[in-house]
Amino acid sequence: MMGGENRAMLRVTNLTKEFPINQGVFKKSKVAVHAVTDVSFEVREGETMGLVGESGCGKSTAGRSVLRLIEPTSGTIEYKGRDITNLPSGEMRMLRRELQMIFQDPYTSLNPRIQIGKIVEEPMRIFKMYDSNKEYRDRAMEMLSKVGIRPDQYTRYPHEFSGGQRQRIGLARTLVLNPKMIICDEPVSALDVSTQSQVLNLLAEIKEKMGITYIFISHNMSVVKYVSDHIGVMYLGHMVEQAPSEEMFANPLHPYTRALLSAVPEVNPEVKKERIVLPGDIPSPINSPSGCVFHNRCPYATEECTYVVPAFREVAQGHKVACAKAGQI
């Protein structure tokens, strides 16, 4: 690694987000969905941080909280050493020029009534980046061709494109602002296999050319492994394990990470994996289990796990895990 050159671009500390559920006559909230609980991570400049976990684990909420599309309940978010947790919305807006996001569903994240060229121009116009219409147009065309959409398709509408192409248009829309960091929320999950690899290659190419830092949110272990330098595994709103990518896959410590890895189907019929099939379902984030959130599905859980919340401790260089028995199992 590059050592000192890589400073933390984004530091998230003890991020918590609760969504209160209003009940009763006076809409007094008694219970809350604990979407993200006490999550901390760092993203260094030029690196890709992968957040992985199953549905409802809070990975998307964590990603959106970074952009403050969702206001965190508590915790701090520092961007380039500056605390942006309580930044006034006007300033936050200006900051979003550097912090951008692409979404999972390329069908609903583009306005169906607007030509794709205008969609790509819009963010530039919001930030009043240029003076003439021609400049906007040229820049939009340049970016479209960069992501592999022919500039002569500028006046087409989103429905005329396939899923992969729409994801490219969404990417062009963020890239015109020259962002420093892009949060990719399941960018390839809705795509077919043959287009998925095209979009993944495009993301890698753009990262290399433009030096962009990614937070890559996905439920697909293989994809996360392929793109990420660092990986955080989330379960029910908690970060259960965090490590550099190679370390995570060579030496997974948390029983949940192990189960997740073993559940990834191998694309080779001769390798039959020993699968760890977890019992039961993911519990509801409204009444999450006491102690370790994973204890009711964990094959190694002891009595202690049911009431002691495991510390998120560092067990090796950069490898953190929230399991009392990590290293012994």
């Binding site: 192409q165 077919d192 690899s197 293989s222 073993s262 191998e266 019929p269 699968r275 379902d281």
Partner: protein
């Protein structure tokens, strides 16, 4: 061996939809077989016709307005396409059952799971009493591994998680002990750990009850782990068919090879460029006249554009439709084994 026994044979099946914009041949001359104790995988990208194929087997589309089927679907020596709607009804659920991708929208939200399973049982066994049917529903839920089935039988679909609903769907499909189970993307809407549970369940039931399974999916990983034979489809046609080992280790058709190569796996080296199949799946009417994969194919030759590709056969019943199949992979691997 009973394993080899032919359960279902689809011969030159064509499914033509009549739409306002004209006729669309969604399935164009598809032929394959399913053996009694076999799990056959049908894979392909969205729009390749894999779901239409499976739904055509049960003739689920409205034949009065919507669709015309041609070809043969032979199940136990009868051609399903020649049966009357009434006779077809006794095949559906009884002999061939189906589970769908989205369990929530396939279940009725205003009835309990137990009532819905009992309904399926009573439709096919007229004599059975409601109470007996409910008891059977509890047994079926237990068979699919739902904890506390006596209580769960009274639960509504919204009270269950995605994995549980899919188990309930499977229980319903098993109600009449079908000979063939068609599973249309049964785990696509589920998380990986739940997907592992459901696939395990399907394999276990396949072993225990000895039914044939057709598994329709876009996930090559699932196919490689579960299926015994694989059919690969592209734009309404079968392009390759063979035993799972042969398909994954020495694919003949460039499309199959491309699909396998373009998936990042846990072994893929980081940052190494992934293999890409150029372009995207064209509209059915925009594809080349000869081979439909022509525009996207790396190995395409001039004649691929005009002439439909011939059938190429390799060993173990492994075959593909291609003018320029990758036969070197096969030979070189064989040579390496010989050494």
């Amino acid at each position: 061996m009973t394993q080899k026994e032919k359960l279902l044979e689809v011969k030159d099946l064509k499914t033509v939809f009549h739409t306002i914009r004209g006729r669309i041949t969604a399935v164009d001359g598809v032929s394959f077989e399913v053996g009694g104790g076999e799990i056959l995988g049908i894979v392909g990208e969205s729009g390749c016709g894999k779901s239409v194929t499976s739904q055509s087997i049960l003739r689920l589309y409205d034949e009065k307005k919507q669709v015309t089927y041609t070809g043969q679907i032979n199940f136990k020596n009868t051609n399903l396409l020649e049966l009357s709607e009434r006779d077809m009804q006794s095949i559906r659920g009884n002999e061939i059952a189906m589970i769908f991708q989205d369990a929530l929208s396939s279940l009725n939200p205003v009835f309990t799971i137990g009532e819905q399973i009992a309904e399926a049982i009573r439709v096919h066994n007229k004599g059975i009493k409601k109470k007996q049917a409910m008891e059977r529903a509890v047994q079926l839920l237990e068979l699919t591994g739902i904890p506390a089935p006596e209580e769960r039988v009274h639960a509504y679909p919204h009270e269950m998680s995605g994995g549980m609903r899919q188990r309930a769907m499977i229980a319903m499909a098993l109600a009449c002990e079908p000979k063939l189970l068609i599973a249309d993307e049964p785990t696509t809407a589920l998380d990986v750990t739940i997907q592992a549970q459901i696939m395990e369940l399907i394999c276990e039931l396949h072993d225990r009850l000895g039914m044939g399974v057709i598994l329709i999916t876009h996930d090559l990983g699932v196919v490689s782990q579960v299926c015994t034979r694989v059919v690969v489809m592209y734009l309404g046609q079968i392009i390759e068919n063979g035993p799972v080992q042969d398909i994954f280790q020495r694919p003949l058709h460039p499309y199959t090879a491309g699909l396998i190569a373009s998936i990042p796996t846990l072994e893929t080296e980081k940052r190494k460029k992934l293999y890409m199949i150029k372009g995207s799946v064209p509209a059915m009417d925009k594809a080349a006249k000869g081979c439909r994969f022509y525009d996207r194919c790396e190995r395409a030759m001039d004649r691929c554009q005009e002439c439909p590709p011939p059938l190429v056969e390799s060993e173990n019943g492994h075959c593909a439709y291609c003018w320029n199949p990758n036969l070197e992979g096969a030979t070189s691997l064989r040579e390496r084994r010989a050494l």
